[in-house]
Amino acid sequence: MKFLRHLAAVVFVVAVIVTLGMLWAHVSGGVDTGLGPMRVPSGKAFGPIRANLIGARPGDGFHLDDTRNLIRTCEIEAVLAAVVITVSAIRRRERRLRRAAAERYM
């Protein structure tokens, strides 16, 4: 029962986000309604990374001969995770040292 209540709340939040997206499309004239020129959101800032989404291959199933895309995605994720973990570990160490120093002076 609790799960269903929470699921309903999550579905509601997701519906709000999708509705906001639809409104965005409507306001920016992004969806072709025949009322005017279409403007699409610019994704130029992501140029180098989003190359993965370009060059989609048709057909079903995995293309095991082309693992470059997969390796690149894994590399991006690994680098970002490593940065966050490093920063988090440094900050944790600093906090611990500060606490130890404060205890020494007390």
């Binding site: 939040v13 997701v14 989609a56 291959r57 995995f62 995770a81």
Partner: protein, 173 residues
């Protein structure tokens, strides 16, 4: 399984409530791992091909709903505490909110521009360049946020991985 008296928290006798907690933790861990692998595969469009990409995306949508539902208590607890001092949980909350928005829009726009999955179900939607671009931008934003989201909980992930691998510090296997 545990011979002799309990020596640590991990060696406590397994009561029904503890068993429930362990089962829930295991579910969280494997569901999160599944989502990470699924997203990594779905983003690698050249590797998966369009059909697998689309079905993975739709599956991710369902798993995302379950994932947030399972963590709804955390969402409510932290949302209530947002005005109190303490930066870390607030930062995690913000990353999670961004990720929810970005992943939701990514999956929704993916459904709207579907070329294989929905037509297979007999549903035809008019794709638009707007939703295609939204899909590209939010997919990339999600790619950035997913590892950050996971890495912010790396201690829990490492702990769980160690536990499932049966390894405990200071104890030979």
């Amino acid at each position: 399984m545990n011979a002799g008296p309990p020596t640590s928290l991990a060696d406590r006798p397994v009561t029904p409530s503890r068993r429930r907690v362990l089962a829930r933790t295991r579910l969280d861990f494997w569901l999160d791992a599944l989502m990470l692998v699924a997203y990594t595969l779905a983003y690698s469009l050249g590797f998966t091909g369009i059909a697998t990409h689309e079905w993975l995306g739709i599956g991710l949508g369902v798993v995302l709903l379950i994932h947030i539902t399972l963590h709804w208590d955390w969402v409510i607890r932290i949302t209530r505490k947002l005005l109190l001092p303490g930066g870390r949980e607030r930062f995690i909350w913000l990353v999670n909110l961004l990720l929810l928005g970005s992943m939701t829009l990514c999956i929704a726009s993916g459904i709207l521009i579907s070329e294989v999955a929905l037509p297979q179900l007999g549903i035809y939607l008019p794709g638009s360049p707007f939703w295609r671009e939204v899909h590209n931008v939010t997919a990339t934003l999600t790619l950035i946020l997913v590892p950050i989201h996971a890495a912010l909980r790396w201690r829990w992930i490492a702990g769980m991985a160690r536990r499932f691998a049966g390894w405990r510090p200071g104890r030979s296997r």
